[in-house]
């Protein structure tokens, strides 16, 4: 079992899939000669050549559309956004073409494509470069949306995304590319649409994904071994991993066990994925709830550059802990 960084796990997933399937190619800004803004594609140009590792000009609409057009012809493009903030300029391509083409053509065409890159806040990048696009894309029928937080999940799910016959939005995180974790030496593919229990527990269900996963695990530790003399809580941390379709079965099984839920994520509260989860829980586990479902996410404001302001805006373990205690009446 190797210890890999997330960027290495992503690179290995791309490499293995490109070796496995000639139709797979990687396209994006700085993916070739520069080897990726975050070095996810290091060495791939040397291995596969410029035909399959394709540097683009700064044309998100253009290369997103080219990827879609190529996918409609049967290729398996991986489109890298240097950051998902730039996908905003390709938004029309993704929602009006990638997500719609299969339906709008009566099933004549499909669009097997992966749009991947870092999502949500990093460190002091200001409002335009710190946005979480989870809710934007998870809102769209016809897309699948994945968010990873460990090397194991990153590799297994990116391979699944590349093989998926549908358009898949694949969220990574700039500050997590160096996170290390165990990755099996043998090949494996994970299933899109399955959540993963990162820490089992019985008192509160903590639903999370992406960058909020380590924050949530930290909060669960604080809850289990409180330093302030309060009652310890056994928190079940569930990494949703896929934001569309959501693994409601896993969510409901846990909530029916713990009777309380907190959703912690990077993203705005209004109309967010957390709101979707809360809605589903209250509809399908109403009689199991002992407390209202709470969300811990960005404050409902644009991100500030200043370090202290940014820190205040992003969910911290202490805030998640407070929410866990609130629903557990501790």
């Amino acid at each position: 079992m190797a210890i890999l960084q997330i960027r290495e796990a992503i690179r290995e997933a791309i490499r293995e899939e490109m070796v496995r399937d000639e139709r797979v190619f990687l396209m994006g800004e700085e993916v070739g000669h520069y080897e990726g803004a975050y070095k996810c594609s290091q060495g791939l140009l040397d291995q596969f050549g410029p035909k399959r590792i394709i540097d683009t000009p700064i044309t998100e609409t253009g290369f997103a559309g080219v990827g879609i057009g190529a996918a409609m012809c049967g290729l398996r493009p991986i489109i890298e956004f240097m950051t998902f903030n730039f996908s905003a300029v390709a938004f029309d391509q993704i929602i009006n073409n990638a997500a719609k083409i299969h339906h709008m053509t009566g099933g004549q065409f499909s669009c097997p494509i992966v749009f991947r890159g870092p999502n949500a806040a990093a460190h002091m990048l200001g409002s335009t470069h710190s946005q979480a696009f989870d809710a934007f894309y998870a809102h769209i029928p016809g897309l699948k949306v994945v968010a990873v937080a460990t090397p194991y999940d990153a590799k297994g799910l990116l391979k699944a995304a590349i093989r998926d016959p549908n358009p898949v939005i694949f969220f990574e995180a700039e500050l997590m590319y160096s996170v290390r974790g165990e990755v099996p030496d043998e090949e494996y593919v994970l299933e899109i649409g399955k959540a993963d229990i990162k820490r089992a527990g019985s008192d509160v269900t903590l639903l999370t994904w992406g960058q909020a996963v380590p924050t949530s695990l930290r909060a669960a530790e604080l809850a289990a071994e409180p330093s302030d003399g309060k009652r310890p809580l056994s928190v079940e941390v569930i990494d949703m991993l896929t934001l569309r379709p959501l693994d409601y079965a896993a969510v409901l099984a846990s909530v029916r066990k713990t009777n309380r839920a907190v959703v912690a994520y990077h993203g705005w509260p209004h109309g967010g994925v957390g709101a979707e989860l809360s809605d589903h829980i209250q509809r399908h586990a109403f009689d199991w709830l002992d407390a209202p479902v709470l969300r811990v996410c960005y404050e409902d404001i644009p991100m500030s550059y200043a370090e202290n302001l940014e820190h205040l805006t992003i969910p911290q373990p202490e805030q998640i802990l407070a929410a866990l205690r609130q629903v557990a009446y501790v």
Binding site: I68, C73, G106, P112
Partner: protein, 341 residues
């Protein structure tokens, strides 16, 4: 921009040299498009067709000429004004009309309507209704052809109103940068919806952009389908044999408003009449009479047969069932299987 001269209504040279069979074929195809659209317009006024209905009447020679310039397997990617190319590519009038009626046997099962015609088997690759957003997609088709070496050419049709929008620029940039086998055909019908191009384009000659994209270019006023075939054919050959994109501006004129709801009051006085006098379809009909010895009665008989065909299409669409209710849940997400992974 060339302006038609009312007295210069002689049969163009390209028509004179065309053979009788191909002339008759081109005339029939243009007439089919026109009668189809007139039938659709009538159905629209009867409330049988809803949404937007953008007619191609006046521009038929471009679709028919382009079809004569390409091979089976080449790809047509066009705008929401897509009936002409669909019929020219061989799509069934019944399926096209049923699509506009929102019926089950429609071209895409009734989910698309007038603006979203797709018929993969006949090389009709859409039907895109967001202005310009098909240009990168078409470039992607050409990218795939180059990637796989399938020898196919992609023809991307757009209107003069689409040249200012971002995706057009980005798609053409990438096509030029990567030497993709694609032909961009700008159908310049002089109006971006209701706004004349003097008020939408900084430079009227759209092909002046081609050098900036590193592309060859061509620009002409449509006279007849064979002229279109020859001029576009050259670009198709360049794409297929040299992997070189071309930007072609085709000066044309639509005789109807932008869509059914447009009275086209923005036209100048006499403008429509001047263009009608040079209607490429009428020119083709004149060639059949004047050069190939067909009579007015022959053409009338042809017309009546086509009208009957289109009336039949309308009746077919009218009587066809609506899509099954559960159809709305289909074709959204594809089940992942061993085969498609």
């Amino acid at each position: 921009m060339e302006t038609p001269e009312q007295d210069a209504v002689t049969v163009p040279e390209t028509l004179k040299v065309a053979g009788k069979d191909e002339t008759l074929h081109a005339y029939r195809e243009m007439l089919r498009i026109r009668r189809f659209e007139e039938t659709a317009a009538r159905a629209y006024t009867r409330g049988k067709i809803s949404g937007f209905l953008h007619l191609y009447i006046g521009q038929e020679a471009i679709a028919v000429g382009t079809r004569m310039a390409i091979e089976s397997g080449d790809r047509i990617v066009t705008t929401y004004r897509d009936h002409g190319f669909a019929l020219a590519q061989g799509c069934e009038p019944n399926a096209c009309m049923a699509e506009m009626f929102g019926k089950k046997p429609g071209l895409v099962g009734g989910v698309g309507g007038s603006m979203h015609f797709f018929d993969r088997a006949r090389g009709m690759w859409g039907g895109y209704a967001i202005i310009g957003n098909h240009v990168p997609v078409a470039a992607g088709h050409a990218f795939a052809s180059k990637y796989t070496g399938d020898g196919r050419v992609t023809l991307c049709v757009l209107g003069d109103g689409a040249v200012g929008i971002g995706p057009t620029h980005e798609g053409m940039t990438l096509a030029g940068l990567w030497d993709l086998p694609i032909v961009f055909i700008v159908e310049n019908n002089r109006y971006s919806m209701g706004t004349p191009l003097e008020r939408t384009l900084p430079v009227e000659d759209i092909t002046l952009r081609a050098p900036g994209y590193g592309m060859a270019c061509d620009r002409f006023t449509v006279s007849d389908p064979f002229q279109v075939r020859d001029r576009i054919g050259a670009a198709v050959k360049r794409a297929r044999e040299e992997n070189q994109p071309t930007l072609i501006e085709v000066l044309t004129y639509r005789f109807r408003g932008h869509s059914m709801s447009d009275p086209a009051k923005y036209r100048g006085k006499g403008e429509l009449e001047a263009h009608r006098a040079r209607d490429p379809m009428e020119m083709t009909g004149r060639a059949l009479r004047d050069i190939h010895g067909m009579t007015e009665a022959d053409l009338d008989a042809l017309d009546e047969a086509i009208i009957a065909e289109m009336d039949g299409a309308e009746q077919f669409a009218d009587e066809a069932p609506q899509p099954d209710p559960e159809h709305r849940f289909r074709n959204i997400i594809i089940e992942t299987t061993e085969e498609n992974a």
